[in-house]
Structure formats: structure tokens, C-alpha cells
């Protein structure tokens, strides 16, 4: 349980500031530091077996089906990183307390910092690859929030987004790579994977896996060509930089290289990819670091360069080089954290980070100057400091490698060149800041030494640099040994940590680097002048520009598809339909089936021709709206004739009555819509639409023809047989509607009801201006309510209602039923509206039809529910015979009640729609008169 406690303590600490921020920053820092100290203590205890070559593991199942378990391990490598993360983290906590501006209570800062610490600890201690990715992404997220800490500063936001995008991309690649490793190895357990190096490297997917994992590592560790985000992450507060860019965030990528070293390293591909990236990064960072005028910028590029150095070491495929890499991880973390903190002090004391203004600080803050100078000297690789030792090993290793064959000399050359620039920029950091004349126009003057305790973290780090540099064997040797052993996966090569190895080539390279570096710095003026002439490249702007370009491109693509044009959208849908038809229907052997067709008669042909003519006329004349409506109603009429002809009287009745109401609706619509309708479509679009229309029309017709001439067994005989015995009605269509498939009808009347509601909602407070005149300039009506119509319509009402009752009652046995009856009633009532006006009607019947609709559907629904009382499912019907005078013998079925519901809904919905639509014109009239 010690391992999870070590990882979770920072998470616990991250929550504390939420409750303690009102106590002020001092308490915050203290409360946050305590768990970190505790974690360090636990780590010390947990590390006991590791010094003896052992390992600590802990695991708990979480997602076994995905192979994601909460598994932790503490081996040498993890221990080393834990020490760095917790140790430097603790120093940063202390340092930040003094660094943050007075008005910042530190709550948010410490929460984010500790969250980040937690994520990092998770990365380095995970014993499960997916768990590692889990934490890996958490570091990306928490570092995003840390970098954007000064959220109202545009540079901070952009820098944070850039870091998130680049490292996020790497994280996704890593996820893919890890999943592939799991696929190859058959387990996500790190312990298993570490033993499966050969298996992975022999697998066909190895190159893919390698590239994906390296993408993850390189983006995180800012390796060329993904290095550009790092300098812009400097927009973060300096304690964050000191933490993220020395010991943690960027080292996560290096950690990944070390962790996967036994699995992925050792191949030529590894050598070429990793060495090349490392060398390019080493040189690129070193050269540009020299030219940075920003104090933190210099440190940022130097970080890039040192990360390249470590990567290069891991790429060399030699165990000794890997040891050197691990050693440099430690050394870089110590001196770089110290340097960032010193830079922060200088920034705080002078109010600027511009080295062209910060000069001669030796006079004002000699103590800080000494600390910074020692740390920079370590960075430059000056003897007796830790940087010298690992650099020496680095030079040795580049000399040893022969993997480039005849070109092997390139490696030591590059290394020396990197060394030269590294010395040069270190020299600049020392000379430019602390000497080189007087300060120029500092925002804060004179600078002073910082508070006593702010220097303590720096002192500790610098002391470590010296101690390691002078007495490597008694300070760092043990930790390095266990870490390197874990990295290499077992056997440690022989090496000596000593300051003096005798006169040899690496020493010569160090001397060249020192002398050359000073020389380069000496000609800095000429170099700066050259740099100033270079076109200024702001990676942030370039990156933002790229992103903007991608966004523009994306917007272009989206606009191209997402045109906002209904015609376009509909054309896509219909084109897909046409494609389906064109793709499948030509496979048909024949467009007719085996059944003989019915004979054709003259009247049918005539009607068909009329229908076709009317349909085509509707299409041609669609801009002459009145004509189009007339043609359309002809079509509707003939369709109902088709139903009559082919033994479907119910359909014919329904079609006819719906037709009446629809035409009424269309007329009303026409009244309000603009009369003018110009041709909008160019011939290309007309052609496209015509092709689509013909293709779909033909396809549907062919399918219809084939089905009509084919005999198949259907479920309908059941309905014919059971209609009377089971449903109590002879009109099978009606029995289906109210009984066999009454649930459909229930849904259908609900749809009708909802449509009415929706329409009511649409019409409420709608204001429309209608033309008082038709397109030909004639007034729509001279007399709103012609007397003839009024006189005729009133006696029609009871008559129509009678018919409706008749149609309704006979519906179960003969064509008719609730729906048709409802429509007839509505039409009769609507006629009153048309003839006498809304006002007249509403004086006589209540105008709100909402309850009627509800009652109708409710009645239908309650009829269904009633069957529960008889322990039967919803809508189970029952019936009995009744004799009524005049109408005759008929069955009274519970389905009748259901049909009454249908009737009420239809009346309610139709009137709700049309009466409210009619009211529109009323509003219009009122407006006209007032």
C-alpha cells in the first residue's frame, strides 16, 4: 500500500488549497508541502528493497476486460524519477511561495501544481501500459492549465494550447502504439512487456509501434521537429517552468525512452530515428539558445538542447550510453531547476527578463550571482561540477559508436559542436547578466537580493551540482546504478564515475568545447547582428497560423458541404436513394413477376392519362400557384378513383375527405405567401433534379410493377379469417385499424394531435401580411361572407353531422369509420368558418380545441387501458350485437369507443389547425381596419 500512497498523497495535497485558501498563501504552501514531504518519507522507506536490486509492485483490478489495471511498480528508474519529481517539486512549492505576486493567494497554483505532480508520479510508477497512458494524458491536461496560469495573457493561452495540441497528439500516438504492443505481447502489464523485447522487435508491426511510441516521446520531450512548443510554454510562471522543464514534463518523454529501452531499443531503426532526432535537437537548441535575449528563452532552448543530448545517448544502442543518459537526466534536472529559479529571482528583482537590459547584476545581488554562475558552469560542463561528468561520458560514447560506418565521425563532431554552443550560451548567461557593464533602464531599480528563504531551493540544487561533481561516487553512484540497471533491464555495464580519467580524447573534446565556446561568445556581436538580419520566426505565430490555416481549410470544407441550402441537402439524400436503386435494380432478371396482369380498360387509361397530365402540369405550373393547386386536386381526386377501382372504398373516402381539407390548407397558404414566384433554378440544377426525379420515379415504378405481378404469401389471410370472430366486424380494413393494429392508429391520432399542437404553437403570435389582391391585381373577395354561402351552409351542418354519424356507425362493417366521419364533421364545421367567419362560429362553439384533441386520444387510450381490467393486454377488444332502428343490426364493439376517440381527435385536430390558421386572416383584417 505504500506505492499508491506515494502517488495519491500529492492528489490529496491538490485538494487542500480549496479549503485553506482563505488562510493565505503561507498556510497553503505549508499544507501542500507536508504531504509531499510525507511522500518523500514513504518513498525512502519503499526504496529499501530497491537498493538491493529488488522491486516493489502493487496492483488492483479496475478494467480487466480492457487490460487496464491499477498497477504500480517501483524499480530503480521509477525511484530516480520519483525522487526528482517529489524533491524538486518540494523545492518549487517553497520557491513559489516567495515568487508569486502578493495578490495571488496561491490556491489555484498549488492545486494545479500538485495535480501535475500526481500525474507525473503516475506516469513513472505505472506498471500497466494503459495506466501509463492514462497518466500521460493527465500530464498534458494539467500542464495545459499550468502553462495558461496567467490566463488573461494571450501569450500564455497560445503557448498552453500549443503545448496541449502537440503533446496531446503525441499522447494519442502513444496510445495507439501501446495498444499495438498489447496486441503483440498479449498483455499490457509492463513487467510482461519488458520481457518481450524480442517478440516485439521481430513482429511485423514493430516499425509502426516504434514510430508511434517515439512520436509520443518526442512530442513530450520537445525533440526536433516538435521542439517548437517548449519555448512558448515559458509564458508560465517561472516556478512552473522550473518544474516542468527540468525534472518533469519534458523528462516524461525521456522517461518513456528509458522505460521502453529493453523492449524497443537495439535495432537499426531505433538508432537512426532516435539518434537523428537527438542530434538535430541538440544542435538546434544549442545554437538558438545563444541568440535568445529573453533569460527564460535561453534556458528553454538550452533545455531543448540537453534533451536532445539525452535522447541521442539513448539512441546509440550502447548500455554505457544509456547509463550516461540516465546520469544526465539527474544532472540536467538539478542545474536546470536551479537556473530557472535564479532566472525567476532576477526577473522578480529587475522586472524584466531581457538580457540586453539586465547587465552588471554582480554589484547588486552577488550571492544570487554566485549560485547562478555555478549552475551555468555545470550546464556548460565545467570540471568539478556534475554537468562535466555526464558530458564527458557523452563524448566518450559518441566516439565509441560505429553504427554510421564510415560516417561515424559525424557523431563526435556534432557532440563537440553542441558542446561549443552550450559553453557559449552558458557564458552569455553568466557574463551578460552579471557583468557586461551597467543595467539599462530596468523597470525596478536597484535590484536587491531576494528574501532569504527564496534562495534556499537554489542553494540546495547548486550544492547538489557541486557535490555530485566532486564526489560522484558517494553521492549519486548508488541511485544511478539502480536506475540504470532498471533501464537496461538487468545487467549493468562497467563504468567509473570519476572526475579524472586521464588525458584522453573526451577531455580534449571538453577543452575544445570550452575554448571554442568562449571564442564563439567573444564574437557574439557579429553573430547577433547576423541573427537580427534573419527573418524573425515566431513559432507561436507560425503555429497559430498553421492552426488558423487548418481551421480555414476545415471551414472551407464545411462550407462546401454545409451550404445551408435545403435543396443541396435534399439532393444528397435523394442522390443516395437514386444510387441505391441504380446499384441494385439492374440486377433484376425481369421487371415483371409470374402473375398475369389485369386487363386494361379505356376508362382506366383515360383516368391514368389525366392523372399523369395533371401531375406533370402541377410540376410545370408550380409557380402559378392557383393553377398548381387545381392540378394537384385533380391528381388527388384521381388517386381516390384508383382506390375505388381497386376495391379500396375506405381509402377512397379518406383520400377524398383529406383532399378537401388539404386543398383548403393550400389555399390559405397561397393567400399568405408571396404571389410572385420567379424562376430560381438554373438549367444545370433543373437538369440534375430532373435526372434524380426520373431515376427515383423509374426505380419505384419498377419495384412496384414487380411486386404487383408476384404472388407471395402474406399475413393478411389471418385478418380476413379473424375479422368477424375475433374483431366483431366485417369491414376488415376497419377492424385492422381499430383492433388488429389499433396501436398504429393510436399512434397515428397522436401524431395528428401533436401536429395540431405544433401548428398552434407556430401560429401563436405569428404576424403575416397578406396581399389584398391576387397576382392579377383583383381583390381576393368583394364580399368576405357571401350571403348565398351563409344561407346554404347553415342547414348543411346538421345534415353533414347526420352523415358523419352514419358513416361512423357503419364503419366496423362497411366502408367508413371514425376517421372519415371526423373529417366530414370537420369539413362541415369549417364550412361555417368559411361562410360566416371565425367570430360568428366562436360565439356559438368554444374556440379552444386543445381539450377535444386530448379527449379523443385519451378516450382511445383509456379504451385500451380498460382491457387491463379483464387481464388482457392494452387495446384488447370485446364486442356484442345491438339493434338500432333505422340503422339496423350492428355489433357494438369496444373498438367503437376507440373509434370515437379517433373521431374526436380528427375533429379537434383539424379544427385546431384550420380555425387558427383562419384567425390569421382575422388578425390581418383587424390590422387593416385599425
Amino acid at each position: 500500500m505504500m506505492l499508491p500512497a506515494i502517488v495519491l498523497l500529492p492528489l490529496l495535497a491538490a485538494l487542500l488549497p480549496m479549503f485553506t485558501r482563505h488562510l493565505g498563501r503561507r498556510w497553503c504552501a505549508l499544507l501542500v508541502a507536508l504531504p509531499v514531504v510525507a511522500a518523500l518519507g514513504l518513498l525512502a522507506q519503499a526504496s529499501l528493497p530497491i537498493w538491493e536490486g529488488g522491486m516493489q509492485q502493487w496492483s488492483m483490478t479496475w478494467l480487466p476486460s480492457l487490460g487496464l489495471n491499477l498497477a504500480l511498480r517501483l524499480d530503480g528508474l521509477a525511484l530516480l524519477f520519483c525522487v526528482l519529481i517529489l524533491g524538486i517539486g518540494l523545492l518549487v512549492v517553497v520557491y513559489a511561495h516567495y515568487y508569486l505576486p502578493a495578490k495571488d493567494d496561491g490556491g489555484r497554483f498549488y492545486t494545479l501544481l500538485l495535480l501535475f505532480m500526481f500525474s507525473m508520479l503516475g506516469v513513472v510508477t505505472s506498471d500497466n501500459l494503459l495506466f501509463l497512458v492514462f497518466f500521460w494524458e493527465l500530464t498534458s491536461l494539467s500542464s495545459f492549465l499550468l502553462i495558461s496560469y496567467k490566463q488573461y495573457d494571450s501569450a500564455a493561452r497560445k503557448g498552453a494550447r500549443m503545448a496541449l495540441t502537440v503533446t496531446g497528439m503525441g499522447g494519442l500516438a502513444l496510445l495507439a502504439g501501446v495498444l499495438l504492443i498489447g496486441h503483440v505481447v498479449g498483455s499490457f502489464s509492463l513487467s510482461t512487456v519488458l520481457e518481450s523485447g524480442a517478440l516485439v522487435q521481430e513482429h511485423a508491426l514493430y516499425p509502426v509501434i516504434l514510430c508511434l511510441v517515439l512520436l509520443g516521446a518526442f512530442t513530450k520531450s520537445a525533440q526536433f521537429p516538435f521542439h517548437f512548443w517548449l519555448p512558448h510554454a515559458m509564458a508560465a510562471p517561472t516556478p512552473v517552468s522550473a518544474y516542468l522543464h527540468s525534472a518533469t514534463m519534458v523528462k516524461a518523454g525521456i522517461f518513456l525512452l528509458a522505460r521502453f529501452y529493453p523492449v524497443l531499443a537495439g535495432t537499426d531503426l531505433w538508432f537512426y530515428l532516435v539518434t537523428a532526432a537527438g542530434m538535430a535537437t541538440l544542435l538546434w537548441g544549442a545554437v538558438w539558445a545563444l541568440f535568445q535575449h529573453d533569460l527564460k528563452g535561453l534556458l528553454a532552448f538550452s533545455t531543448i538542447s540537453h534533451l536532445g543530448l539525452i535522447t541521442l545517448l539513448f539512441g546509440l544502442n550502447s548500455p554505457l550510453a544509456a547509463v550516461a543518459g540516465v546520469f544526465h537526466i539527474i544532472n540536467h534536472a538539478t542545474f536546470k531547476a536551479g537556473l530557472f529559479m535564479a532566472a525567476g529571482i532576477i526577473d522578480q528583482q529587475t522586472g524584466t527578463r531581457d538580457m540586453r537590459r539586465i547587465n552588471g547584476l554582480w554589484k547588486y545581488m552577488p550571492y544570487t550571482a554566485v549560485l547562478a554562475m555555478v549552475a551555468s558552469a555545470a550546464m556548460a560542463g565545467v570540471p568539478l561540477l556534475n554537468g562535466f561528468l555526464s558530458k564527458e561520458m557523452f563524448f566518450t560514447e559518441t566516439l565509441q559508436s560505429d553504427q554510421l560506418g564510415a560516417l561515424s565521425w559525424l557523431l563526435p563532431l556534432g557532440a563537440t559542436l553542441g558542446g561549443v554552443f552550450s559553453v557559449a550560451y552558458s557564458a552569455r548567461f553568466i557574463h551578460d547578466v552579471f557583468f557586461n557593464g551597467e543595467p539599462v533602464n530596468l523597470p525596478k531599480f536597484p535590484p536587491q537580493e531576494p528574501p532569504r528563504y527564496m534562495k534556499i531551493p537554489v542553494e540546495i540544487l547548486v550544492a547538489l551540482c557541486v557535490a555530485v561533481g566532486v564526489f560522484p561516487a558517494i553521492t549519486v553512484a548508488a541511485l544511478l546504478a539502480v536506475a540504470a540497471t532498471a533501464t537496461l533491464g538487468g545487467t549493468l555495464p562497467e563504468y567509473h564515475l570519476a572526475v579524472w580519467h586521464g588525458l584522453n580524447i573526451p577531455l580534449l573534446m571538453s577543452v575544445i568545447a570550452l575554448v571554442g565556446g568562449i571564442a564563439v561568445y567573444a564574437c557574439r556581436r557579429r553573430l547577433f547582428a547576423w541573427y537580427a538580419r534573419l527573418p524573425e520566426i515566431d513559432a507561436k505565430r507560425v503555429f497559430e497560423g498553421r492552426i488558423q490555416a487548418v481551421v480555414r481549410l476545415a471551414a472551407g470544407v464545411t462550407r462546401g458541404l454545409q451550404t445551408g441550402s435545403l435543396q443541396g441537402y435534399l439532393a444528397w439524400v435523394l442522390a443516395l436513394v437514386a444510387a441505391v436503386l441504380v446499384w441494385q435494380l439492374p440486377n433484376l432478371a425481369s421487371v415483371t413477376g409470374e402473375r398475369a396482369m389485369l386487363p386494361v380498360d379505356g376508362v382506366s387509361v383515360l383516368c391514368a392519362l389525366m392523372l399523369i397530365a395533371a401531375a406533370l402540369l402541377t410540376t410545370v405550373l408550380h409557380r402559378q400557384r392557383m393553377m398548381a393547386i387545381i392540378c394537384l386536386s385533380v391528381v388527388g381526386l384521381i388517386v381516390s378513383l384508383i382506390f375505388v377501382r381497386f376495391s379500396a372504398p375506405d381509402l377512397a373516402l379518406t383520400q377524398l375527405s383529406v383532399e378537401v381539407v388539404s386543398v383548403l390548407l393550400l389555399m390559405l397558404a397561397m393567400y399568405f405567401l408571396p404571389a410572385r414566384a420567379k424562376a430560381d433554378s438554373n438549367s444545370l440544377r433543373v437538369g440534375r433534379d430532373a435526372v434524380l426525379a426520373v431515376l427515383i420515379g423509374t426505380g419505384v415504378a419498377v419495384a412496384a410493377l414487380l411486386v404487383m405481378t408476384t404472388d407471395i404469401a402474406t399475413i393478411s389471410p389471418f385478418f380476413l379469417e379473424n375479422s368477424v370472430p375475433g374483431g366483431g366486424g366485417t369491414n376488415v380494413v376497419n377492424v385492422i385499424l381499430v383492433d388488429f393494429r389499433g396501436f398504429d392508429t393510436f399512434g397515428e391520432i397522436t401524431v395528428l394531435g401533436i401536429a395540431a399542437l405544433g401548428i398552434y404553437a407556430l401560429l401563436s403570435d405569428l404576424k403575416l401580411v397578406s396581399a389584398k389582391y391576387d397576382p392579377f391585381g383583383r381583390p381576393w373577395a368583394h364580399d368576405a361572407h357571401p350571403l348565398v354561402l351563409v344561407t346554404l351552409s347553415r342547414p348543411l351542418l346538421p345534415l353533414a353531422l347526420m352523415i358523419a354519424v352514419y358513416i361512423f356507425l357503419r364503419g366496423h362493417n362497411l366502408p367508413g369509420g371514425g376517421f372519415v366521419a371526423g373529417l366530414i364533421t370537420s369539413v362541415a364545421l369549417l364550412l361555417q368558418y368559411v361562410a360566416s367567419g371565425v367570430t360568428w362560429v366562436h360565439k356559438r362553439i368554444p374556440g379552444d380545441y386543445h381539450p377535444l384533441v386530448a379527449l379523443g386520444v385519451l378516450l382511445a387510450g383509456l379504451t385500451g387501458v380498460a382491457s387491463w381490467a379483464f387481464d388482457a393486454p392494452f387495446l384488447t377488444s370485446t364486442f356484442t350485437h345491438v339493434h338500432l332502428p333505422m340503422i339496423g343490426d350492428f355489433e357494438l364493439a369496444s373498438a367503437m369507443l376507440f373509434d370515437t376517440g379517433v373521431f374526436l381527435t380528427v375533429v379537434g385536430a383539424t379544427l385546431l389547425i384550420l380555425a387558427n390558421l383562419g384567425k390569421l386572416s382575422l388578425l390581418d383584417d383587424k390590422k387593416e381596419t385599425t
Binding site: V635, V639, F646, L673, A677, D680, G697, T698, M708, V732
Partner: protein, 111 residues
């Protein structure tokens, strides 16, 4: 006769599709209505065509398929509800966007 009905279906669907693709709400309403007719006749025809064989028990020897009729009836009602909604929505669109173009003012400017 089947051929004739198939032809009718084809023409109704084709004209319906064409009108749906026009730019004015009124034309689209017309198109959807025609398409609705076509689809209803199509659905109806799926049960096969029979003359003088009403699906009333006892009225005919070889009654026509009642199920497709019931389906078409449901489809007609739903189609009516939908058309009504669309018509009113077209009015609303006219009222709010002052255009009867299906894309409102944007479409007006484009055309």
C-alpha cells in the same frame, strides 16, 4: 393494368421528387404532396391489385389485401398531419424571414 398503375406511381414519385427540390416553400409542399400520393399508391399496390373484391367479409369471394389498405390509411392521416405542419411552418418562415425561399433571406440573396 399493373403497368398503368406502376406508370402512375413512377410519374407521381418523379414529379414529387422534382418539386421537392425547388427553392420555394410552396413548391416543396406541392412536391411532398405529390410524393405522398405516389408513396400511398405504391404502398397500396404492394398488396396486389384486385377489382371488385372489397375486403369486407362476405362481400367478395377473393377479397383484396386489407392490410395494405389499413397501412395506407394510416399513412394518409400521418401525411396529412405532416403536410399541415409544413404548410404552417412555411407561413411562419415567411412571417419571420420575409421570404418564401426554403433558405430564407440567405437563399433569396443567393438566387
Amino acid at each position: 393494368m399493373e403497368l398503368l398503375v406502376a406508370l402512375i406511381i413512377g410519374v407521381l414519385v418523379a414529379t414529387g421528387v422534382y418539386l421537392c427540390l425547388r427553392a420555394r416553400t410552396f413548391s416543396v409542399v406541392l412536391g411532398l404532396t405529390l410524393l405522398g400520393y405516389g408513396v400511398n399508391v405504391f404502398l397500396f399496390s404492394m398488396g396486389g391489385l384486385k377489382i371488385n373484391q372489397v375486403a369486407v367479409v362476405g362481400a367478395s369471394a377473393d377479397p383484396t389485401d386489407p392490410l395494405t389498405q389499413a397501412l395506407v390509411l394510416t399513412a394518409i392521416v400521418i401525411g396529412f398531419a405532416m403536410t399541415a405542419f409544413l404548410v404552417v411552418l412555411a407561413l411562419r418562415s415567411q412571417g419571420e424571414q420575409h421570404s418564401d425561399h426554403v433558405d430564407g433571406q440567405d437563399g433569396e440573396q443567393r438566387s
